[in-house]
Amino acid sequence: MRLLKTGRWITVVGLSLLAAVYVRALAFTPVERTQGVAQKIFYLHVPAAIWTETGMILVGVASIFYLFLKDPRLDRFAEASAEVGMLFGTIVLTTGPIWGKPIWGTWWTWDARLTLTLLLFLMYVGYLLLRGAVTEPGLRARYAAVLGISGMCLVPFVHLSVYMFRTLHPQPIVLKPSAPSLPGAMLATLAFSFLVFTVLYVGFVTQRYALTLLREQTEPHA
């Protein structure tokens, strides 16, 4: 199937570029003064975190349009985006503690931002569980859309709460109202990594979308 192949190619390109991100981050980007080598994980952690949140918002947007247009393509996209978002959430929740152990001295702390990332991850899990619990395709799509839209509306609240608590987590240094306070070389690596994660997101979503399509064709009543 062509779509599946396209998705595979995009993913292969994304993964090889990811290797290039590692090379650039480790060999051609300066070591941060206070955090040392541990800071390198920032180039994976931040892009994955941005895509975890964006993934949820895209699930919500696709869900809104699904409820109006009833186009099954939107539902397939929402499902794919949720699964990929959960994967990126897993990356965030794994790389975070690996960085936290040497820098904070603890794997996990009940800090606002950590708690709320876990919350977002659990929302993805809930969304996919709901999809698994409903067998009838039309009903499943509508239920998932309702949950997806609610999830999207929760993201701003989650985001807001983060700024209201004193937190251990480093404050945003790129996506903030004033100019990025990051040396040029680090910013370039981060931007490159973000681009690679975007390619990976597109590749994964395309493959997942194609898989759903294949499943629908082979088991029309599933």
Partner: protein
Amino acid sequence: MPDVWRHAWLLARKDLLIEFRSRTAILSAVVFTILVLLVFNFGRDPTAVAAVDLAPSILWVTFTFAAMLALNRAFQLELENQALDGLLLAPVSRSSIYLGKLMANLVFVATVEGIGLPLFALFFNVSVVPVLGPLCAVIALATVGFVAVGTLFSAMTGRTRFAELLLPVLLLPFMLPPLIWAVLATSALLAGRPLSEVVGWLRLLAAFDIVFVTLAFFLFPATVNE
């Protein structure tokens, strides 16, 4: 619009009447609340942790569990004898069905909370009387928020497999932000902090309520339309 409210009130009255005649659900919920409070009493070391430090979490965990019980029940009622189909055939708008369910759930949860709060004050020797007004405002705002989302979700989970398990899994992430704010506001109140410290949390709770009641009002039809 007045029709929507009238129908909603009729539906809520129907649910509450059923509840009032059998009284099984409300009694179970109240007994459950007392039992949760009891479990908490044994789960802490009174010599190590002062009651007032733990009180806000105890109060809100208890209310969360009680609300979950109430919400699971809301649409289960309509599944017997395909009562939901009858309800959908009735000449009332989908949104007023939601509002009716929301009102009935709110009355149910408020009753449980109304009994739970004095018992909580009694068991844990917390003086709630001096801050009763603001505390009730916090409880009311938080309850409206999570019952609004819960009513919407229970309409969906009621018709799936593992309904009783799926609802908490879906709902708890949505309950957490208002719960965090409510716990912080409650602990500020019980510690005798000035009211001005609580206003921010109350505003956030109110914003959450407005957004999610409106959202659920518009999304609910999508969960029942065939």
